[in-house]
Amino acid sequence: MSAGEGGDGGRGAPAAGRMRKRQTTLGDGRYLIYYTFGGEDEAAEVAAPERPEPAAEAAAAEERDV
């Protein structure tokens, strides 16, 4: 078995992009965190929710880069 069969080709692969996370609070008080990945523009789109969180399920939301 030669070294590399375990795959180190990812070193030259395109970056997965900046990781961002958006935290919401579920209706029963538990937190839920959405992790998204992408470049600057894509991350900005992802970070802006496309629709309001259902009031019963998300009492709060927080966005931040990681």
Binding site: A3, G4, L26, F37
Partner: protein
């Protein structure tokens, strides 16, 4: 009720969590609580129509940040403490019928980054002395949900198996001046017979001391203690090697291979653990395509595992199933 009860015979804690008896068990298709919530559909744990990777607090936690008082009073012989900690669920993909092995390596790389973030964030909590990341896969392991996911426990103490590794590592370092896992890695690579796969940053082996027939350990070639110590290249290489190993598992018998996957990292209790060494351990319960390795009297009652196979032979089987991992190639291995 959830609490920690002390076992004075073994000197370790046992968690009781009676509410977990009520947790969701193998729900029918269309009612998976880990799938995205579709318009007009069953409201799942994730209230959006899609996601990439999500993490949330377990609805049925064994440990929680503000635990209730214990159900019983402790004594000098039997200390009891609240079950303080955190239990998270980490959902790998919105694709219900996928598995981690089926996901493209890019998704596993994202998962590695999320793991690192959870290790850092939970490890900073004052109640978290140890952050334990793991996956139970397959009904043979006892999973209650098939949707690809793992779990993260933040314990208020260093769990006993890791504590034993830490002690062995410390003793080895004091005796030899070297890292125990670095020495294990060096011996396995020199011998070669038990190596399953390797890349620029990690090596996967069926260790000399394997307890399960297809037990695999993944060791970092560089001496480091946690995911957060890794460079971006190392995190990519970890994703690649995990993909290579779990894809080889699936090819072995032509089925979705059940396993427990656990990450062993340094404690987060503020201590110094330079002598420790990050690694991933897989414990697959199958010994053939149709037979399970049971934890019976010797394993459970005495702590002596009896492995019916030779690590050298099982490593050769797995090695023959390893295929190159291709980035940008979509799902599955190339």
């Amino acid at each position: 009720m959830s609490e920690l009860r002390w076992n004075p015979l073994l000197g370790e804690w046992v968690a009781t969590a009676t509410h977990r008896q009520e947790r969701t068990f193998l729900p029918p298709a269309g009612f998976c609580p880990l799938c995205p919530t579709k318009p007009g559909g069953f409201p799942t744990e994730v209230p959006e129509e899609t996601y990439d990777i999500v993490v949330f607090e377990n609805r049925f936690p064994s440990l929680r940040p503000a635990p209730p008082d214990p159900a019983v009073e402790g004594s000098e012989l039997y200390p009891v403490r609240p079950g303080a900690g955190q239990c998270e669920v980490i959902v790998y993909t919105p694709r219900h019928s996928s598995t981690l092995a089926d996901e493209p390596v890019e998704q596993i790389y994202k998962l590695v980054r999320v793991w690192a973030d959870r290790f850092a964030e939970l490890g900073a909590e004052p109640f978290a002395d140890y952050v334990f990341i793991f996956e139970n896969k397959g009904e043979a392991i006892g999973v209650t949900l098939h949707h690809p996911h793992g779990q993260i426990y933040a314990y208020p103490f260093v769990p006993p198996r890791v504590a034993r590794e830490l002690e062995q590592s410390r003793a080895h370092a004091e005796r030899t001046g070297r890292c125990l896992v670095c020495d294990i890695t060096g011996e396995e690579r020199r011998d070669g017979r038990r190596v399953v796969a390797e890349n620029g940053s990690f090596v996967a082996v069926v260790p000399f001391f394997a307890r399960y027939p297809y037990e695999v350990h993944v060791y970092s070639l560089r001496h480091l203690q946690a995911l957060t110590d890794m460079s971006d290249d190392e995190q990519r290489d970890l994703a690649s090697l995990l993909k290579a190993v779990i894809s080889a598992f699936d090819r072995l018998f032509g089925l979705s291979f059940p396993y427990m996957m656990v990450l062993h990292q340094r404690p987060t209790d503020g201590g110094s653990y330079d002598h420790y060494h990050f690694h991933v351990e897989f414990y697959p319960p199958l010994r053939t395509a149709t037979k399970l390795k049971y934890l019976a009297g010797s394993e459970t009652g005495a702590g002596l595992f009896i492995n019916d196979t030779l690590a050298e032979e099982k490593a050769a089987e797995l090695r023959s199933k390893v295929e190159p991992v291709v980035w940008g190639g979509g799902g599955g291995a190339a």
